[in-house]
């Protein structure tokens, strides 16, 4: 009776009855003895039983069970991870050991695969612990979210968030260009007529304000909020956050647009003379100056995934540039008229362009194919994509925000819209905030766009709440792992892949130098067997067996190839047949 009966062990933990049965209670004891009494007769039997229980116990101890009731875990093992979340952290395809790989290589591949799988799973599990959720805006039934005004939103949300909708009336020196620092804390404004200001926009602290007494074409933060670059009428200037002029870079003249590549510490500038120049801001050297020979460059964007610079041209083409190549990496014809604006999303998959033909097009820039396009009545003069993939387009004095712009379906009605007082000149989403900054003729407007920003930042990469000391530490680390400009290319993961081409080249050279192929398959040498089993005949037989096996492999391969080819041909001919034999009656066929 001390031992749980087989019934008990099989029953689930949920049943309370079994639990009661298992725990020793005085009344049960009596009941059992009562039951047993008539059956049990002599003390010998009792003794036997006690012996049996002792044996059972010892057996159990061996098995590692205890007399306590075993509570089964209703959810055994680790919690399952949803596949989409696992997919999010997947890096490339799984490796398989190639056929004919040695034991060592196979083991190494299996081990590294298991390690990367573990890392992927742990990262996916950690995703559950992220503290913040993304924002959203949902209208009531029949209410269009695009009709909700900013004032209503600002009233509906808490005070801190509400204060993120504000206007700066700066009618004197506009229109304004703007840039948010990488962690989203600081805002840089540059008015066309020379007004430059930087603001801690959340606390509305003015860090510096000045008038450079020259035309300002563009402004850009450098790697920290301590320095920014201003493209002025003639040259490029670099100021610190107090407005002190640090450098005047006279090699960079007539700059119209700028982009900063944060991991490479490169400032890419596009000039009116058609030059694309790269300035390494960590050492102050010009890395590359490329004469694009494509005229005035006033449309520019960077691909944050691979640091390739996209330029839009008056003839409707968009060209992709890296500092290592004199010619564009890719040139694609996007619009019938000139390209007015373009932007690339942070995953580096999609590019959105707008042109003078008043079209807005979304491209897949891994396949260089258009996904979809739509017609905007006035055409978009400025485009910007948020971290969560919201697309904002400025048409005249109206800014429209679209959801799912990078999906497969075409753009429908806007998610939000906002009318401003003047023509829009600059658009930028604030990183890690639900805020869209708009620079226009009459100053600057900060607009709330719920669901635009990434809710959870990574403090080792970009930390909006970092202290002075943390910023210093981060700066040193970032400088140490500055990526060299030579590594900019269309595929940033190229370095982690096996370089087959140069291996083949090296192997060819080696074969020439040695006079034989060191990697060639060795000719089969039959093992010498003892006890008379190594007669000439049996050796020959063994040799032939191996030779046949090899031949079979070759035949199998060639048959496979043949089958594939036939299949392809069949498919092609079928397509042709389908096209050629179609009659009017075919439409009634199933």
């Amino acid at each position: 009776m001390a031992a749980p009966t087989p019934e008990d062990s099989s029953s689930t933990h949920v049943e309370k009855k079994s639990k009661q049965k298992l725990s020793k209670r005085y009344w049960e004891e009596t009941k059992n003895t009562d039951q047993k009494k008539p059956e049990e007769e002599p003390s010998k039997d009792v003794q036997n039983q006690s012996e049996a229980t002792v044996k059972e116990r010892s057996l159990k101890r061996k098995k590692g069970e205890s007399d306590q009731p075993v509570k089964e875990d209703p959810f055994p093992g680790q919690a399952p991870i949803p596949t989409e979340r696992l997919q999010k952290f997947r890096r490339g395809e799984k490796h398989k050991a190639p056929a004919g790989a040695g034991r060592k290589l196979k083991e190494a591949i299996v081990f590294s695969e298991s390690v990367s799988e573990l890392a992927q799973k742990q990262a996916a599990r950690y995703d559950l612990l992220l503290p913040e959720d993304a924002g959203f805006l949902e209208g009531d039934e029949g209410e269009d979210t695009s009709t909700i005004s900013q004032d209503d939103i600002a009233d509906a949300v808490d005070i801190t968030s509400g204060s993120k909708y504000f206007n700066l009336h700066l009618s004197q020196f506009g229109p304004y260009r703007l840039d948010y620092s990488r962690n989203g804390r600081h805002l840089l404004l540059g008015g066309r007529k020379g007004h430059v200001a930087c603001i801690d926009w959340q606390s509305k602290d003015l860090m510096c304000e000045m008038n450079v007494m020259e035309t300002v074409n563009d402004v850009k933060w450098l790697h920290t909020e301590a320095m920014f670059a201003v493209a002025q009428k003639k040259w490029l200037y670099i100021y610190d956050s107090k407005g002190v002029e640090l450098h005047c870079v006279k090699k960079f003249n007539d700059v119209l647009k700028m982009q900063f590549l944060p991991y490479h510490f490169l400032l890419a500038t596009a000039s009116a003379t058609g030059f694309l120049q790269y300035l390494d801001v960590s050492v102050g050297k010009e890395v590359a100056a490329i004469n694009t020979k494509l005229g005035r460059l006033d449309v520019m964007a960077q691909n944050p995934y691979n640091a390739v610079v996209h330029l839009g041209h008056p003839n409707g083409t968009v060209s992709l540039w890296s500092p290592n190549q004199r010619e564009p990496l890719v040139k694609m014809l996007c619009h019938r008229g000139a390209v007015r604006s373009l932007t690339v999303d942070k995953t580096g998959m999609h590019m959105v362009t707008s042109g003078l033909d008043r079209k807005l097009k979304v491209y897949d820039i891994r396949a260089f194919k258009p996904l979809h396009s739509c017609f905007l009545p006035a055409g978009a003069s400025c485009l910007s994509l948020s971290q969560k993939g919201l697309l904002s387009a400025a048409t005249g004095d109206v800014v429209q925000v679209y959801k799912n712009a990078c999906g497969s379906s075409t753009l429908s009605k806007p998610y939000m819209a906002h009318r401003l007082r003047g023509q829009v000149c600059g658009l930028a989403y604030c990183p890690f905030e639900d805020v869209l900054g708009i620079g226009h003729d009459q100053g600057f407007t900060s607009m709330i766009v719920p669901g635009a920003g990434e809710p959870n930042f990574d403090a080792l990469d970009t930390n909006p709440y970092r202290s002075f000391k943390q910023r210093q530490e981060w700066e040193v680390k970032a400088l140490l792992e500055k990526v060299q400009p030579e590594l900019i290319g269309l595929d940033p993961g190229q370095l982690g892949k096996v370089d087959h081409a140069s291996f083949e080249q090296r192997h060819k050279e080696r074969v020439e130098a040695l006079g034989f192929d060191p990697l060639a398959k060795e000719k089969f040498k039959p093992v010498k067997k003892k006890k008379g089993r190594s007669s000439a005949g049996s050796v020959e037989k063994r040799k032939r067996k191996v030779a046949h096996e090899d031949q079979r492999d070759i035949i199998r391969q060639s048959v496979q190839e043949k089958m594939d080819r036939q299949k392809e041909l069949e498919e092609k001919s079928k397509e042709k047949r389908d096209l050629g034999m179609k009659t009017t009656l075919d439409r009634f066929r199933k």
Partner: protein, 445 residues
């Protein structure tokens, strides 16, 4: 209308007091961390450079001997004690942490040819040019008491090497023959010879303790089993081996240091072809010793360098040399796998780090983590040309470098000639021999 806007409370992200640690919320989303591979590569490159910057392997020099060091022995129980014998018959006992000599014994007249420590660490044996085997107490005698050996055995011929059994009270010497001695007796309990005139070194297997290997002057390495009356088998090579060492972890492997500038690792089950040929020295290799992990070994050479090899790699991973170090006669890897002792002709024992760029002393957890991370990064990107170039670069003394170039040229010429001969002779009559097959002449059972 339902609306939610991102609004973070700074209290959740900023530490409360300056005594707190900083809050570092993480998000491992790959899109927030672009350029993973190039950044990791940059880190690996930096780690490789720093490894070379911090590669300062020389720790200390123990001077005090008045003649060249002929042999070094590790104490079998104490990490801090090392014994060394010199060419003037002097034996010194060193304290490594203090870097000072604790005791000096005039053990022999002429060279101290070989030394070994008893497995219990209470005494040690020396053999010398004066045809004697002496057993000494590890403890120094009291003040004013003369240094006397516990036991002295007079042999018939000069002994060139000695090694002690790893568990029992027997030891083996070599000279004209390989002799097995009982500690209690004054004559060998067994003598092995196989038609050769002398042996240069003898070593007991640390695992299969009845197994012995010795290097003979007829270019062979001979294996013995002390339970049998005759030697087991021998492999004859093209040139003579000087010393050998068993792998302490995979004790079916041994490595012998050869006169032809190479080291050969053999599997005792297949003596006909060495498992690996370790090349890089530019002169005769004089001594070899395995690390206690059995993954690496260190070799000393007449070319005034000490090299560290991985057990399955054909080329060395590290070379140590100094301006003043002359021909290195003996070398030992310390039992804690951290240091290397080398004894050379110019009377100094040098202490080196086994891992040149390792930081000595206690490491904090973060230091350890960073070191491990850097190690893994270097391993991951080791085949990239930039990383490999920096990781492989070693400064060599001018004459070693010259000799290396010269030998490469000679080898190339030999290869070219052979290729030409093969081209102009009957196909198959000049077989292609791999580097491993070239050096073994015969295996005799």
């Amino acid at each position: 209308m339902k609306v939610k806007v991102l609004c973070r409370n700074p209290d959740d992200y900023v530490r409360e007091t300056t005594r707190d640690i900083q809050k570092v919320p993480r998000n491992y989303d790959p899109t927030l961390h672009p350029f993973e591979v190039p950044r990791e590569y940059t880190r690996a490159l930096n780690a490789t450079k720093l490894e070379r910057v911090f590669a300062k392997p020389f720790v200390a020099s123990l001077d005090g001997h008045r003649d060249g060091i002929s042999c070094i022995v590790k104490h079998s129980k104490s990490l801090s004690t090392v014994l060394s014998g010199a060419c003037d018959g002097e034996v010194k006992v060193w304290n490594l942490p203090k870097r000072e000599c604790m005791r000096t014994v005039q053990a022999h007249e002429g060279f101290v040819r070989g030394m070994c420590s008893r497995f219990c660490g209470t005494s040690f044996f020396t053999v010398g040019d004066d045809k004697t085997i002496k057993q000494w107490n590890m403890e120094a005698p009291g003040y004013g008491v003369r240094e006397e050996p516990i036991n002295t055995i007079l042999g018939k011929a000069v002994f060139t090497g000695i090694d002690h059994h790893h568990r029992e009270g027997t030891f083996a010497t070599c000279g004209q023959t390989v002799d097995i001695w009982d500690e209690q007796r004054s004559s060998p309990i067994r003598s092995f010879s196989w038609g050769v005139d002398s042996f240069s070194s003898v070593r007991y297997n640390p695992v299969e303790t009845e197994l012995l290997a010795s290097c003979a002057s007829d270019r062979s390495v001979v294996l013995y089993d002390t339970r049998e009356s005759a030697p087991l088998r021998k492999v004859i090579m093209q040139l003579r081996s000087n010393t050998l060492c068993w792998n302490p972890m995979e004790a079916y492997y041994f490595t012998c240091a050869n006169e032809d500038y190479n080291l050969y690792t053999y599997d005792i089950r297949h003596l006909d072809v060495p498992v690996t040929v370790h090349m890089d020295h530019v002169s005769a290799v004089l001594d070899v010793d395995y690390s206690p992990t059995g993954r690496e070994f260190v070799s000393a050479s007449f070319d005034k360098t000490v090299r560290i090899f991985q057990k399955d790699k054909g080329h060395s991973r590290e070379v140590y040399h100094t301006k003043r170090m002359q021909h290195v006669i003996s070398v030992r890897w310390s039992a804690d796998n951290k240091y290397i002792m080398s004894g050379s002709d110019e009377m100094n024992i040098r202490l080196w780090k086994a891992n040149a760029s390792e930081k000595l002393g206690l490491l904090s957890t973060r230091e350890k983590a960073a070191a491990n991370y850097n190690k893994k990064l270097i391993e991951k990107f080791q085949h990239h040309p930039q990383v490999r170039r920096i990781a492989r670069h070693r400064h060599l003394p001018r004459d070693v470098l010259k000799q290396k170039r010269e030998q490469r040229e000679m080898k190339e010429a030999r290869r070219r000639k052979e290729q030409n001969v093969r081209k102009h002779s009957k196909p198959g009559s000049v077989p292609l021999l791999t580097e491993k097959e070239k050096h073994v002449v015969a295996v005799v059972e």
